[in-house]
Symmetry: C2
Subunit: 307 residues, 2 copies
């Protein structure tokens, strides 16, 4: 569709580290992002798993600026920029463009429920017109279980028709493989990222662009391997492995579970802090999570190395 190189493969909605005062911790954030890039994982910062909606626009702008200032490649960044308020979405999207991000992940405005496709279309259209940047690449963020507002197939069709070079992809966190399949079947060339690795191989076989998954924070190597070797003889076994790991983790609240694993892997309890309304895992839940992962031979050691 366009000549700008696209973000593909595995992306991580990077978990956001906080200090004891619940302020974002830019040093740890930069370190985690640098490490992910070194593993060839793209940076879907400010996703659901990043507690992005517990951060103010100013906090997100500051964190994004810190990544760029640290020399991380903005072309590999796809920050979440869709907010409830039109003016916030415009401000954050324009800033992402200003620093050269490869794309943005756009939630629909998510407070008002039962809104029309027409209303969501109008929101996206306003963002596109106000940001007014030819480089803008929007990936729709479809996550009805959290947002309570959806990007329907007819709405996507309309957005693709009206903004063909700008609306280029979607993260499908519906958790519904039928929806992912319908997206892949309906819109050839549209870059479809399942929001979890549970159906990654199925998606790749139908032309999926990769996946944007919370657990890419902690299970990078195994997920990346499925993407590299999806046409190989072991693909199904590899897929089975990452799906089982995902299954073990998602029995617990996803953000807290990821942070608990990171705290152990990095040997750094600071990672255990979440911002309200989320809560860290209780000791018992953490023990259960670790036990389940150990039973799956999850490697708690290999990601200790810091960059």
């Amino acid at each position: 569709m366009t000549d700008i190189p696209r973000i593909t493969g595995v992306l991580s909605p990077v978990v956001t580290p906080f200090g004891k005062d619940l302020a974002p911790d830019p040093e740890r954030f930069v370190r985690q992002c640098r490490w992910l890039l070194s593993q060839n994982v793209g940076l879907a910062v400010f996703g659901t798993n990043s507690e992005a909606n517990s951060l103010s626009v100013e906090e997100k702008i500051e964190l994004l600026d810190r990544l760029v200032a640290a020399g991380l490649d903005p072309a590999r960044m796809m920050p979440g920029t869709g907010c409830c308020a039109l003016t916030d979405s415009v401000r954050l999207t324009a800033h992402a463009m200003k620093v050269g991000c490869g794309g943005v992940l756009m939630l629909p405005p998510f407070y008002y429920k039962g809104v029309s496709d027409d209303g969501i279309h109008a929101s996206i259209a306003e963002v596109v017109q106000r940001v007014a940047d030819d480089r803008l690449r929007i990936y729709l963020y479809h996550i009805p279980p959290m947002a309570g507002v959806a990007f329907s197939l007819p709405l996507i069709e309309r957005l693709l028709k009206d903004f063909p070079r700008i609306v280029v992809g979607i993260k499908d966190s519906s958790g519904d493989w039928n929806n992912t399949q319908a997206l892949l079947d309906s819109f050839p060339g549209f870059e479809v990222f399942p929001g979890s690795e549970t159906h990654l191989l199925d998606a790749l076989r139908k032309g999926g662009a990769g996946c944007i998954s919370a657990t890419a924070n902690v299970n990078v190597a195994a997920i990346s391997r499925v993407i590299r070797e999806w046409q190989g003889a072991d693909a199904d076994a590899l897929q089975d492995g990452i799906a089982r790991t995902r299954g073990a983790i998602q029995k617990f609240p996803m953000v807290a579970a990821n942070k608990a694993i990171l705290a152990r892997v990095r040997d750094d309890p600071a990672w255990d802090v979440v911002r309200p309304p989320l809560r860290p895992l209780a000791a018992e839940a953490k023990a259960q999570l670790f036990q389940a992962l150990e039973a799956l031979q999850f490697d708690f050691g290999r990601r200790v190395a810091t960059v």
Copy 2:
């Protein structure tokens, strides 16, 4: 519980006027608020019906400052200050206190679903501690159909125990009279405002503090009369009247319907503008709404007078 005079009676989640460029229109906003105060209606600005969650924190601060600068009494204001992000809720609540607002209406952080009571408690606790103002009066905003996150009875009990002089009331927009009744029965002295006038008389008879209703933007006189005359012989007939009017309006999207009525009452089409993701009423819907209201002898004339 405290010696600060309380906001009681009818409050309006004031609709926010926008210009053609979708920027808030402070002049019309001040005029509408002044008129509501002249009708003895309190100002629950930045509610759901105000499209508050389509406004940035900066836009809300600016509008609040304009009201105060125009000489409107902040003691009669109960701005909505609960945002998704802790830092936004703190900033907006602190600002409301700075300008002397009588209270704040606090949504729970509403992006993350399935959060624990403990997590919502932690959010409120952080706001209370960070704002650190003895004058702070929090009215919880319970609107699960929109927010997807609720203030449960056990959570309210805990908040009342931990913040007895600060958490003083609730707007119950559950639409479930059983919940309103349980609140009134469970927490004597807690100020319970039903989020609509549909069960206003029932609530008043059980000690309710008044109501905070979207339609108070357009049906002030009739709703206020129920509050003034709830012990009189005509109370049930008056209640029946406001419930029927409410029923006619809420067949349509509430914000757009209120704005359509205001545009007609004020003979000012500028009121018809909503911000995406909301959409204005189509001409046909507007005609149906007006017809239904005319059939109920709704008075489109009396509120033309501007202050």
